[in-house]
């Protein structure tokens, strides 16, 4: 980063992002490159998905980066956002104790959830599921899997003795899962960050249901004309540029021995989005 004597001249770009993305430090890795290239200053605030969206809805930021398809669509439909571009994806993991009392290791995610449910309902000792319970992207994903497994979330799942809502961030949820030697759904980045400190393993890490897609959206300039429209576009385009897609794909390999994200560029079919959403620069 170049030290800057006259920061007033620099344009500022404000981004709201979800915690799980921010905590991986991917953005910390990317922003200096952007700042240098566009002589800009990037200000990133992170929060729960709901909070990040709230910032976007109120026009307090220029760009929103989240991973919750349903709410993204609502955000776009309500006219708050435009120009969504998908730049990365990875998979959620179902984590749990090595002893795996419900016996889900190697199952598909939907099957695993069904198994946990059955074990929980039959009071199998040591089977507890900890949910984020905070309406985050991860929590949305978890609810979607329960649904896919044939359960009604609010009537079948919530309120069971073996099902606890942590109501906190991912890190705290992992800590709690570790403490209780329970099961939980986690994003891969946070789990890798915690892995060294906890006695938990990823029991299920494959399956379409675990897909986790990250996108960036520009705040609708028609609603908030004084957002930094130009830089917001630059940022979006920057994320889907070839150079940065490679950075994303290699991020974390050095530290964790495996990548935290996959580049979205060439996998648009696999992750169920249009080609335009991963490739077309914003005009």
């Amino acid at each position: 980063t170049t030290t800057d004597q006259t920061p007033a001249e620099k344009q500022q770009l404000r981004i709201a992002t979800t915690t799980s993305l921010y905590d991986t430090k991917l953005l910390d890795h990317l922003t200096p490159i952007f700042e240098e290239k566009y002589n800009a200053e990037v200000l990133i605030v992170s929060g729960g998905t709901g909070k990040a969206i709230e910032y976007g809805q109120r026009g307090d930021v220029d760009v929103l980066m989240v991973h919750d398809r349903a709410r993204e669509d609502a955000f776009l439909a309500d006219g708050y956002g435009v120009n969504r571009r998908v730049f990365a994806y990875n998979y959620f993991v179902v984590i749990g104790p090595e002893s795996d009392p419900a016996g889900i290791k190697g199952m598909g995610p939907v099957q695993a959830f069904k198994t946990i449910y059955a074990a929980g309902e039959s009071n199998t000792p040591g089977v507890t599921f900890i949910s984020r319970g905070d309406a985050s992207g991860t929590h949305s994903k978890e609810q979607a899997i329960w649904k896919a497994a044939g359960f009604n979330y609010s009537t079948d799942i919530q309120g069971n003795d073996w099902y606890q809502e942590a109501g906190t961030g991912m890190g705290a949820t992992i800590a709690m899962t570790n403490e209780k030697q329970a099961y939980a759904l986690s994003d891969i980045g946070t789990f890798l960050a915690y892995k060294g400190d906890v006695d938990l393993v990823a029991l299920v890490d494959e399956g379409d249901a675990l897909l986790n897609v990250y996108c960036a959206m520009q705040i609708n300039p028609e609603k908030y004309p004084d957002t930094n429209i130009a830089l917001a576009k630059e940022w979006t385009n920057f994320l889907i540029s070839d150079e940065i897609q490679q950075e994303i794909a290699s991020f974390g390999v050095a530290e964790y021995g495996q990548p935290l994200f996959y580049a979205a560029q060439n996998d648009w079919e696999k992750i169920g989005v249009t080609e335009a959403e991963v490739k077309d620069p914003v005009a």
């Binding site: 729960g48 709901g50 709230e54 905070d134 606890q164 109501g167 709690m176 570790n178 403490e179």
Partner: protein
């Protein structure tokens, strides 16, 4: 801004309808924070008195240290308690983590410094002649302390109010050692008003957060009125 109005109306609705979910959280908050305040008072008031009236080397440094601990962030308190009571920690065998008991411990630890410090201030304000009079009437150490505290009851109860305020309004420690759990049973849940507020905020439900904040203030008002009633007796 309409969220504030909405929050107010929601708060009124929650209180009037005695919303069972919110009531459970509110009651848990009261139990936890009041217990912590009482336990902290039992430590802090005698400790503050001992420091105020003691003459030992390093007394001034100790007071400075205590004042410094006012700045102890709640998250750090939470972390320390967390490390002590987590499964692999020295007190892990007690299985306290993510229980209301753990939250009481954390809040107690959190407010002891400020309560001790304010107790010292309160007692140092007592007229020296009153202190001499108690001594000359043949007070034992304990009688001396209880009577000086009685004499400074106004300021001491203000200290208790500060302690309670800090306990019930903190969130960092509560969430770390409690976990904001919404379990099926009342006793295994650890969701209190502040952690619920923080959750609602992270979900972007601003008016719900404000409503819960108002519920919390109503509780605090009740506790303060009770304290004031004792104060002016």
């Amino acid at each position: 801004m309409y969220e504030i109005v909405e929050g107010f109306l929601e708060a009124i609705r929650l209180i009037v309808t005695l919303d069972p979910n919110v009531m459970a959280i509110a009651v848990r908050s009261i139990i936890i924070s009041l217990t912590a305040t009482i336990i902290a008072s039992l430590f802090a008031i005698p400790l503050g008195a001992a420091i105020n009236f003691g003459t030992f080397p390093g007394r001034k440094s100790l007071i400075n240290l205590i004042q410094t601990l006012y700045s102890l962030p709640t998250v750090i308190v939470g972390l320390l308690i967390f490390l002590l009571i987590s499964r692999v920690g020295p007190f892990g065998f007690m299985r306290l983590l993510f229980t209301p008991t753990a939250m009481i411990i954390a809040q107690t630890v959190l407010i002891i410094p400020i309560m001790t410090g304010l107790t010292i201030s309160a007692l140092s304000g007592v007229d020296p002649v009153i202190r001499d009079t108690l001594r000359s009437l043949g007070a034992t150490k304990l009688q001396f302390l209880t009577n000086v505290i009685k004499e400074a009851r106004f300021a001491i109860l203000a200290t208790v109010a500060v302690g309670f305020g800090r306990a019930i309004s903190e969130v960092g420690a509560a969430i770390l050692v409690g976990g904001n759990i919404a379990a099926a049973s009342f006793a295994s849940s650890t969701r209190v008003l502040t952690t619920a507020i923080s959750l609602e905020t992270s979900m972007g439900n601003i008016s719900q957060s404000i409503a819960l904040g108002i519920v919390l203030l109503v509780i605090a008002l009740g506790v303060n009125l009770a304290i004031a009633a004792v104060q002016h007796r």
